[in-house]
Symmetry: C2
Subunit: 189 residues, 2 copies
Amino acid sequence: MRLLEERILRDGKIGDGGVLKVDSFLNHQMDIALFCKMAEEFYKLFRNEHVNKILTIEASGIGIACITGQVFGCPVIFAKKSETINIAGDVYTARVESFTHGKTYTIMVAKALLTPADSVLIIDDFLARGAALSGLSALVRAAGAALVGAGIAIEKVFQHGGDSLRESGIRIESLARIQSMENGRIAFC
Amino acid sequence: MRLLEERILRDGKIGDGGVLKVDSFLNHQMDIALFCKMAEEFYKLFRNEHVNKILTIEASGIGIACITGQVFGCPVIFAKKSETINIAGDVYTARVESFTHGKTYTIMVAKALLTPADSVLIIDDFLARGAALSGLSALVRAAGAALVGAGIAIEKVFQHGGDSLRESGIRIESLARIQSMENGRIAFC
């Protein structure tokens, strides 16, 4: 998606440890007008898949997911994170390792909210090593729901998280696919 | 707002320790169609205040804030939470005590995102003892921005967080105001 790529080139910054900082429009301040364009793009890609629920993960996926939910006309669930392994209540859980934050946490969704009758689209802001997406798809699987696919804002292709997830049969559509971020220069696929 | 009150009566549950659980439509699964109605209500209330930025706090405020941002046509910032007191970087910070989770954390917003030129509307899902709203208004004050007011989905009036904040001059508009939650019964003001 050219609009998003141009925005990344204009306002994205490469931080310490190869982190792409998109704080000014994606995951701290959120440019809602841009999110609307992204949501329309996700709708074009998945409109024929009978999506009835969108699933994302707190915190930075929620904004894009909600605007996308508006376009699809369906509710949005955000998986909650906890550093505790033992979670009380009637929830599906998965363990997720965060490389950015250097810790492992549990993500969960209430069993009442995901059922075998659901066709779920996962939405998230980043796909890097694929840990969050892998955990979210495990929640969908545990619920017996159908996973329609995943809509991602920015995929860091060079971190290869998408490879094995695509091989496992998950349809992943990323709006901006970054090939490399070497020498302070961002190159798209 | 009658629609929200009716939804709370229908789908809200009173949990342990007097917690109002609205997981099925507000802060785990999010009913985006309802959020659109709430956003229109916030717009009616604050449309003449020249709002150019919406501020909320992760995670459960983000959804409502983003849909509201769409109606106002402005970007949305979510303050980030950290359990660490010492935060690196060019950020405004405030300390917030969470009674629900029994801990104190730091909230922060990048200095680059809030300036004296901004007229800020705070949006959040709950107002109980007022800790989060107090922290968010401190961030706006630290930035020298104008605080237009706060739009809250559900105010637990009997926990009195709104009292001192209103006395300090902050305009607070809550769409559902709960007077009491005794004997498993929710009563609105």
